[in-house]
Symmetry: C2
Subunit: 150 residues, 2 copies
Amino acid sequence: MPADDGRVAALDRVLELTVLLGRDMAASLAASGLTVARTTLLWHLRAGPSTQRALADALGVSARNVTGLVDGLAESGLVSREPHPADRRATLVTPTPRGQELLDELARGQAELAGQLFGGLSRERLDGLVSVLDEVLERLRPLVPGGAAS
Amino acid sequence: MPADDGRVAALDRVLELTVLLGRDMAASLAASGLTVARTTLLWHLRAGPSTQRALADALGVSARNVTGLVDGLAESGLVSREPHPADRRATLVTPTPRGQELLDELARGQAELAGQLFGGLSRERLDGLVSVLDEVLERLRPLVPGGAAS
DNA sequence: CCTGCACCGTGAAGTGTCTTCACGGTATCG
DNA sequence: CGATACCGTGAAGACACTTCACGGTGCAGG
């Protein structure tokens, strides 16, 4: 069935892309003494401080795991735990000034990577790529538990 | 710079796709009692038996790690270690009949996923996607250490 | 008020994926 | 025959995850 071949070829490209991108991120983060999981948690703090429970839900991991990740980030001086003003059970995780600097740097690195990957593409091809990926994501989301999480 | 926005938007899509696909694979494999790393190793055995050294290079991990992964797969009865006919230092990792069955099943699952993700796309859009991804991969490969590995 | 239940975060224990370093066995080349 | 490079693995350890159990807190309902 030749119709299938094109689809499997596309999936192969996507799979290789995920592998390569994953390695690239892990390597560049490791150069800064970071790990992917901790950085992902920090990244979710751009919008502002957050409860560990909320972070666990957002990342799709157990609350216990968030405790460990925050431990590591706090030890590196990137986030701080502060008491929740209204709920004494919860703790608010907040980026420190150093964490904020790092977040800005991460955003710059992301823009740079985007430029390296998609820099020479015409407007049409780029728009086409985004629209196809949106369509694929729309189909993939319901297949994955917690796919609605951003 | 609005030109940058489109590129970052594309990268966002790719990143979300990575996360979702990773979860989907991990979940469906876990349902079969497998893990991603072990299955990846098994997947590289489709072409035939292989030395652990060769597997380490192909997967981009340390030789020690391959020992552990093969241990797990052997314990599950999916691969077997056999002496290399010409080099008594090396061991050849070979899929067992059960491992072969599993490989066939994995290939079917991959084709099914490709159908679910890209099924309704027109020939043009699918070809466009593959060509854009090939171009992006071409740029990404040199950025990643070991990017030449398949 | 105060009792029961749901919730927040964390200690304990365990699995899986990875690493580096050291070592014994083997191939190979001079 | 001997130096050297290579193959796989033991030992020890880092990190990302999990479930289960427990103490502290919030929030009703009686």
